[in-house]
């Protein structure tokens, strides 16, 4: 059963909390919402490599353990790279959170159902992979509580957010190399952050 939170609201509630965190967004809807609603140089947009959002964020988190990294993935994309959950659990960076907009469909390609529309649970699979802080949230209140925990506690977190179906508004700016370079410069310029609590 899909949820009652819109992806746009979930993106806004996150952006209100952001200071020096890195946000990595999945190709398609997640990148479009983040670009339109909360564009900033520390956003790492992805435009291709379906499935790799969680792994890209993991690499950033391992290379910059002083910076909190939040990935915004999609259910269809994470289902392509479930082994990533095992690598997240094995490397266990405490500065890492994987948030999945789980609307139970392949939204960008026309709304075809994914496995999470039937029986599969991404939070359950994350727990099985060995991620202890694996949550599934269905309401805005529960989502905000999950954000509070991500910003206050050690990770890694995996949070499946049951979101409403629906395409993002607007059109994507696909300056792929330009956004990549902007992100790299912003992260390189970010001085070492205080140790994460």
């Amino acid at each position: 059963m899909s949820g009652s939170v819109s992806r746009a609201t979930a993106t806004r509630r996150l952006s209100e909390r952001l200071t020096n965190e890195v946000v990595v967004s999945n190709l398609g809807q997640a990148t479009l919402d983040l670009q339109r609603l909360a564009d900033r140089p520390l956003n790492c947009y992805t435009f291709g490599a379906m499935g790799q959002c969680s792994s890209i964020g993991l690499g950033i988190a391992l290379a910059r353990p002083d910076v909190r990294v939040i990935c915004l993935d999609g259910d269809g994309s994470l289902l392509m790279n479930l082994g990533s959950l095992c690598t997240i659990a094995t490397t266990a960076p405490r500065n890492y959170a994987l948030v999945i907009w789980d609307n139970e469909v392949h939204q960008t390609t026309g709304g075809q159902p994914t496995a999470t529309a039937v029986r599969s649970s991404l939070a359950g699979m994350a727990r099985g992979a060995g991620v202890e802080k694996a949550l599934e949230v269905r309401t805005e209140g529960d989502l905000c509580h999950a954000y509070d925990r991500i910003f206050a506690e050690d990770g890694p977190f995996v949070v499946s957010v049951k979101t409403e179906k629906g395409r993002a508004e607007g059109t994507l700016d696909r300056d792929v190399v330009g956004y990549t370079r902007r992100f790299m410069r912003a992260l390189a310029a970010l001085p070492p952050q205080l140790a994460l609590r």
Binding site: S55, G59, G83, S84
Partner: protein, 171 residues
């Protein structure tokens, strides 16, 4: 007869070019390169579940300032094709690929042959510069230049390690 010290040369090449993060899907040949790196306190080796996951991880690390290499069998190149194209080449994120060349001279497993024979053409199709060093002097003569070119172009480069260099895998 292959000189067993090839793997130490390969590990030294990677280390002296500033590579400290290694992603791998184990393979009996490239695992020899990792042996001295597992215990190196400056280096980190992450075993991934599928090779393209390693590309994602190393690409993220590069954007965060750390150079990385992916060590795998050439069958893993087949698993990496879309991510190499739509992430590394499209976004100009360099990575060093180090792969054993199965499916070529001396191969005993027919299932390894098709992707083994296609490996260089796959890399050519993606405009990924690669070398196939057949001896340690050949490796040493080309390796630093290949890695430098990769970071100059900001694109992936690949070492294909043939049985003549590594001794291959005995069936």
């Amino acid at each position: 007869m292959a000189d067993a010290s090839w793997s130490k040369h390969m590990a030294d090449v990677l280390r002296r070019n500033g590579i400290r993060l290694f992603a791998t899907l184990p393979d009996s040949i490239v695992s020899q390169v990792l042996e001295p790196l597992w215990g190196d306190s400056e280096c980190r080796v992450v075993t991934v579940c599928r090779e393209e996951e390693g590309l994602g991880l190393l690409s993220g690390a590069f954007m965060a300032g750390q150079r990385g290499a992916l060590l795998m069998q050439n069958s893993g190149l087949g698993n990496c094709v879309n991510t190499l194209g739509s992430l590394n080449v499209a976004s100009q994120i360099p990575v060093v690929l180090v792969m054993s060349h199965r499916g070529d001279l001396g191969e005993f497993n027919p299932a390894q042959v098709p992707v083994g024979q296609a490996a260089e053409r796959i890399l050519d199709a993606l405009d990924i510069r690669h070398i196939v060093p057949r001896s340690i002097p050949d490796l040493e003569a080309q390796a630093d230049g290949l890695i430098k070119l990769g970071y100059t172009r900001s694109l992936p480069v690949a070492f294909i390690l043939p049985a003549e260099l590594t001794g291959g895998k005995l069936g």
